[in-house]
């Protein structure tokens, strides 16, 4: 289990000795503990931490446990974190007062530590199960609507091979989107974007972006406009005018494959540089665009460039989830590490299909965001 998927508990007690005993006992269960010696300290911690459950002492100097719970109930995000009271009191009225504040349970302080741990572990199991059920329900609803921000298959394009790999963060659809838009036998557009944000909200907005991109491509090609820069500029302009997308930004890599000339035209908006593997030199080179994120400035300027793939050359287009890693020292973004990992694989003649089976699964263990990558090569 990675750091990101382990449950986290916030323990609040003014008795540091008791806190230490609990922390040591929880350490054996794999549950991450954060501790606070007072309600005030807990409130500060909660500004930057989101535990899965809170265990708080009732009697503390300053703000007591009931007052802390009342305070958290005012906050629309913090009020939903399961809250358990720890008390040495057996006053039924006080216990009832706590439970009236939607605390899910209380634990008497002289309960053996292993029983406290078991009780909280069971509550966390129930919370996790409920979360999974809720996610499954929304996922099923999304499936039944038959809306997809990731295509089911790749198009057949004369002279080129196209493949892709996508994995949403925590298996919940997120802000990454991919589209293949075949215009005719000669031209096919490829779009890879990343709406800034995660999970359902970002996923919802991908459809706004996808619709505008599809429409812009169609209107442009009706008028024989095959400039990716011009299309990107129009998409950006209209997104900047859309009130619903006012605060939503997205990166986009837009590519056009011309099968007659056997070239690829590319324009980017706040996207990561593509990687072009030159089979002759066995090196990867960055293909950098100059465009800014979609939705940032209406007058954003976009440029385009041609990419020619020689036989056995490969092109990789990917979102930032591919370069984010979670390790022992925390999370980090490392483009160069990703590029060197790909180079090492390619230099041992591993193809994209094999990479999907090994490399990307390994990367996904350290996944902290949606991961998407498209691979284009010359047949």
């Amino acid at each position: 289990m990675t750091e990101a998927t382990r449950n986290k508990i916030l323990l609040i007690d003014d008795n540091s000795l008791f806190l230490n005993i609990l922390v040591q006992a929880f350490a054996k269960t794999g549950i991450i503990c954060i501790t606070a010696g007072s309600a005030k300290e807990a409130i500060n911690l909660l500004q930057t931490n989101r535990p899965d459950i809170i265990l708080s002492d009732y009697e503390m100097p300053g703000m007591n446990g009931i007052e802390l719970r009342k305070y958290l109930m005012q906050n629309k995000i913090l009020k939903d974190i399961p809250f358990v009271f720890l008390t040495s009191l057996t006053d039924k009225d006080l216990l009832l007062q706590g439970l009236d504040l939607e605390a899910i349970d209380y634990i008497i302080k002289d309960t053996p530590v292993n029983v406290i741990i078991s009780k909280l572990s069971n509550i966390l199991l129930a919370v996790n199960k409920q979360r999974e059920l809720s996610t499954a329900e929304v996922t099923n609803a999304a499936k039944s609507l038959n809306v997809k921000s990731i295509p089911a298959k790749t198009p057949v394009v004369n002279g080129f091979g196209i493949d892709f790999w996508h994995r949403p963060y925590h298996d919940i659809p997120g802000g990454d989107f991919i589209d293949f838009i075949p215009v005719n036998e000669r031209y096919t557009f490829i779009a890879l974007g990343d709406v800034m944000g995660k999970k359902w909200m970002a996923w919802y907005f991908t459809f706004g972006f996808l619709s505008y991109i599809r429409s812009a491509v169609r209107f442009a090609t009706f008028n024989a406009d095959y400039s990716t820069a011009s299309i990107l500029s129009k998409v950006n302009h209209i997104i900047c005018l859309d009130d619903i997308l006012q605060d939503i930004l997205s990166s986009l890599s837009l590519l056009l494959i011309d099968t007659e000339k056997q070239v690829i035209t590319y324009s980017g908006a706040g996207d990561l540089p593509l990687l072009h593997y030159d089979a002759k030199t066995a090196e990867l080179r960055q293909v950098q665009s100059s465009g800014l994120l979609l939705g940032l400035f209406a007058e954003g300027e976009y440029t385009e460039q041609e990419i020619k793939l020689a036989p056995n050359d490969q092109l990789f287009i990917f979102t930032d989830g591919m370069i984010d890693f979670a390790g022992n020292k925390g999370k980090k973004s490392d483009y160069n590490l990703f590029a060197s990992t790909i180079t090492n694989q390619l230099n041992t003649n591993v193809n994209f299909e094999q990479m999907k089976a090994t490399l990307f699964d390994t990367l996904a263990d350290a996944q902290v965001d949606d991961c998407s990558i498209i691979n284009i090569y010359k047949n």
Binding site: L272, Y335, V368
Partner: protein, 110 residues
């Protein structure tokens, strides 16, 4: 999460007190920053030296706060970016969008 350090040379200098800037704290960050911009009517310099990792949700919050600042004819200036984050800004051209300096001494006087 945002601690005001001082006001100097027409700027409000603040410190971002998190090491992992992500979806977990992007919304409260944006609310705090926009409230500061509205209330103080000053350009805000954010010291990011404690931030070790930033995800796209947080980048989105930062960029949409900048749009808000520009609409107020204000600005957001970033200082103390760690190398990983500075590299990420350059890769996705956000270094052309934000004014970025090593520290406050390099920030030009308004």
């Amino acid at each position: 999460m945002i601690n005001t350090i001082k006001e100097q040379n027409g700027y409000l200098i603040v410190d971002l007190n998190i090491s992992e800037a992500s979806l977990n704290n992007s919304d409260p960050f944006k609310r705090e920053l926009i409230a500061l911009l509205d209330e103080k009517q000053k350009k805000v310099v954010i010291d990011m030296s404690k931030v070790e990792y930033m995800d796209s949700s947080f980048l989105g919050a930062l960029v949409s706060s900048l749009k808000h600042a520009i609409a107020l004819k204000s600005d957001i200036v970033l200082i103390g970016l760690r190398k990983d984050i500075s590299d990420l800004f350059a890769l996705i051209r956000l270094d052309k969008v934000f004014k970025i300096y090593k520290d406050f001494n390099e920030v030009p006087t308004t």
